[in-house]
C-alpha cells in the first residue's frame, strides 16, 4: 500500500469528480426533458407516434453507451455537411458529444420509467378530475404529472446512479473526469489498487449521497 500516493492523488481525483458531477447533472436535466417528451409520445393513441417512441427507447437501451458515444463523437464528424453548419461548434467538442450521448441514453430509460408511471395511474383519478370539470391540460399537469413523479422516484433514483457510472465513459473521448484522471494516475504510477480505492471511494460517496437524497424525496412526496 502506497499511502502517500493515495493522499497525493486525492485532491486531483476530487477536482475530477467535479467534472463527473457536471457531466451528470447537465445530461440528467436534458435527459429528463427528452424522457418526458418520449413518454408522452409513447402514451399517444396514434400507433405510429407511439411506435416511433418505442423504437427510440429500444435502440438506445439495446446498444452499449460506448457505441453511442463513439457514433456521436467519431461518426458525426465524418458528415461533411454537418461540419459547415452551426451544429459543428457543439459537435467538435468532446464534452458536448459526451453530454448528447448521455442525455439521449438516459432519456430513453427515463421515458420508460415515466411511461410505466403514467400507465399505472388509476383511470379513476383522471375521471375524478374530469367530473370536477377540470380541463385536460390542468388534469395532466396537476394530477397526472405529480402522481407520475412520485411513482417513478425509486426507479429514477436507480437511473441516476447508473448514469453516474455511465459518465465514466466520457474518459474514452479524452475528457478528464474521475475515471479519466484515475486511469491517467494508474498508467503513470502502476499502482492500480491504491488509485482504485480512492477513486472508487469517491464514487461510492456520491452514490451514497444520491441514494439518500432520493430516499428523502420519496418520504417527502409519499402520500
Amino acid at each position: 500500500m502506497d499511502l502517500e500516493l493515495m493522499i497525493n492523488s486525492f485532491p486531483k481525483l476530487l477536482s475530477a469528480a467535479a467534472i463527473t458531477l457536471k457531466l451528470l447533472s447537465v445530461s440528467l436535466i436534458i435527459g429528463l426533458f427528452i424522457g418526458l417528451f418520449f413518454a408522452i409520445l409513447r402514451i399517444n393513441k396514434n400507433i405510429f407516434i407511439s411506435k416511433f417512441a418505442y423504437g427510440y427507447s429500444y435502440v438506445f437501451r439495446g446498444t452499449p453507451l460506448l457505441v453511442q458515444i463513439f457514433i456521436i463523437y467519431f461518426g458525426l464528424g465524418q458528415i461533411e455537411y454537418l461540419r459547415s453548419t452551426v451544429l459543428w461548434v457543439i459537435l467538435k467538442e468532446p464534452y458536448w458529444c459526451a453530454i448528447i450521448a448521455f442525455a439521449l441514453n438516459t432519456g430513453a430509460y427515463t421515458s420508460e420509467i415515466l411511461r410505466s408511471a403514467f400507465q399505472t395511474i388509476k383511470p379513476g383519478m383522471i375521471e375524478a378530475g374530469k367530473s370536477l370539470g377540470i380541463s385536460n391540460k390542468v388534469i395532466f399537469f396537476k394530477i397526472q404529472i405529480p402522481i407520475a413523479i412520485r411513482q417513478s422516484l425509486p426507479a429514477y433514483g436507480n437511473e441516476i446512479i447508473l448514469m453516474m457510472k455511465g459518465t465514466s465513459l466520457a474518459s474514452t473521448v479524452t475528457i478528464m473526469d474521475l475515471t479519466g484522471v484515475a486511469k491517467y494516475i494508474i498508467s503513470t504510477t502502476f499502482k492500480p489498487i491504491e488509485v482504485f480505492i480512492v477513486a472508487g471511494g469517491i464514487y461510492l460517496f456520491m452514490t451514497f449521497i444520491i441514494h439518500n437524497l432520493i430516499k428523502f424525496l420519496e418520504k417527502k412526496y409519499s402520500y
Binding site: 439495446g62 452499449p64 465524418q78 464514487y203
Partner: protein, 230 residues
C-alpha cells in the same frame, strides 16, 4: 456492401468473429457471475452479521463504482497480482494474462453482484411455507434446495436475470479498452483503417441490437418453460 465482404477485401469475417468473441465473453462472464452469486447469495441470507457484511460490501462496491474503473483495476492490476503470487513460488519471469480471461473476470465480478441481488430477492420472496413443508416431509438439505427451492427461485429470477444478461452483454463493449478484439474493438480497427467511423460504429450498434433481440427471444421461451404449472 463490399466493405462487409468476407475474405481479404472486406470486414465481414472480422466482424463475424468479433461478434462470436462478444458472445463468448458475455457467456463466460455470466457464468463467472453465477459462481460469484453462488458464493455470495448464501452469505447475504446468512444470519451471521460478519458474513452479511462481506456480501453487502461486495454488492455495494461493485454496483456503486463504474464498470470501466473495475476493468482498469483488473487490466492494470491483474498482471501484477498474478506475478506477485508467482514470485512467492519462485517464478520471476514476466507473465502476461490473456485479455479474454481478464475481461471475462472483470465483467463476471460485476455481473455477479447483480445476479446475487436477483437470487437474494427471488429466494426471499419464496413463501416460508415451502421451506416448512419440505422440512415436514423430512427432505434432507440437499433435496430441499434442489427439488423445492431452486426450481421456484429460477422461475422468479429469470425475468431479472435476463436484465442482468443485457447489462453483461453491453458491458463487454468496455473490454475493448484492454485490446480484446470483440465487436467494439474490431469496429474501432475497421473505422481507423477505412476512415469510416460512422458506418462501422453504426454497424456495431446493429450487431448489439441483434444480440439483445435474439437473446430476449430465447429467454422468453425459457421463461415460459419455467412458468409451467402457474
Amino acid at each position: 456492401m463490399e466493405i462487409l465482404a468476407f475474405g481479404d477485401t472486406g470486414w465481414g469475417d472480422e466482424l463475424f468473429y468479433a461478434t462470436l468473441m462478444t458472445i463468448a465473453v458475455s457467456i463466460t462472464a455470466m457464468f463467472i457471475g453465477f459462481l460469484f452469486a453462488l458464493i455470495f447469495t448464501p452469505l447475504k441470507l446468512s444470519k451471521n452479521k460478519f458474513l452479511n457484511f462481506i456480501a453487502n460490501s461486495y454488492t455495494t462496491i461493485i454496483r456503486g463504482v463504474p464498470e470501466l474503473l473495475v476493468i482498469y483495476l483488473f487490466f492494470f492490476g491483474g498482471t501484477g497480482a498474478v506475478m506477485f503470487v508467482a514470485s512467492i513460488f519462485g517464478y520471476n519471469e514476466y507473465i502476461e494474462i490473456n485479455a479474454f480471461i481478464t475481461g471475462a473476470f472483470a465483467i463476471g465480478i460485476i455481473s455477479g453482484a447483480y445476479s446475487t441481488e436477483v437470487f437474494r430477492g427471488a429466494i426471499q420472496s419464496i413463501d416460508k411455507g415451502q421451506f416448512e413443508a419440505a422440512n415436514v416431509l423430512g427432505l434432507n438439505k440437499f433435496r430441499k434446495f434442489f427439488k423445492i427451492i431452486l426450481p421456484q427461485t429460477l422461475r422468479l429470477a429469470i425475468p431479472n436475470l435476463s436484465n442482468v444478461w443485457q447489462i453483461t452483454l453491453k458491458d463487454t463493449s468496455l473490454i475493448s479498452v484492454t485490446g480484446l478484439v470483440e465487436i467494439m474493438r474490431q469496429s474501432y480497427i475497421a473505422a481507423g483503417s477505412t476512415r469510416d467511423p460512422l458506418f462501422f460504429y453504426s454497424f456495431a450498434a446493429v450487431l448489439y441490437l441483434l444480440l439483445t433481440f435474439v437473446s430476449m427471444k430465447l429467454i422468453n421461451r425459457l421463461e415460459v418453460r419455467y412458468s409451467r404449472g402457474y
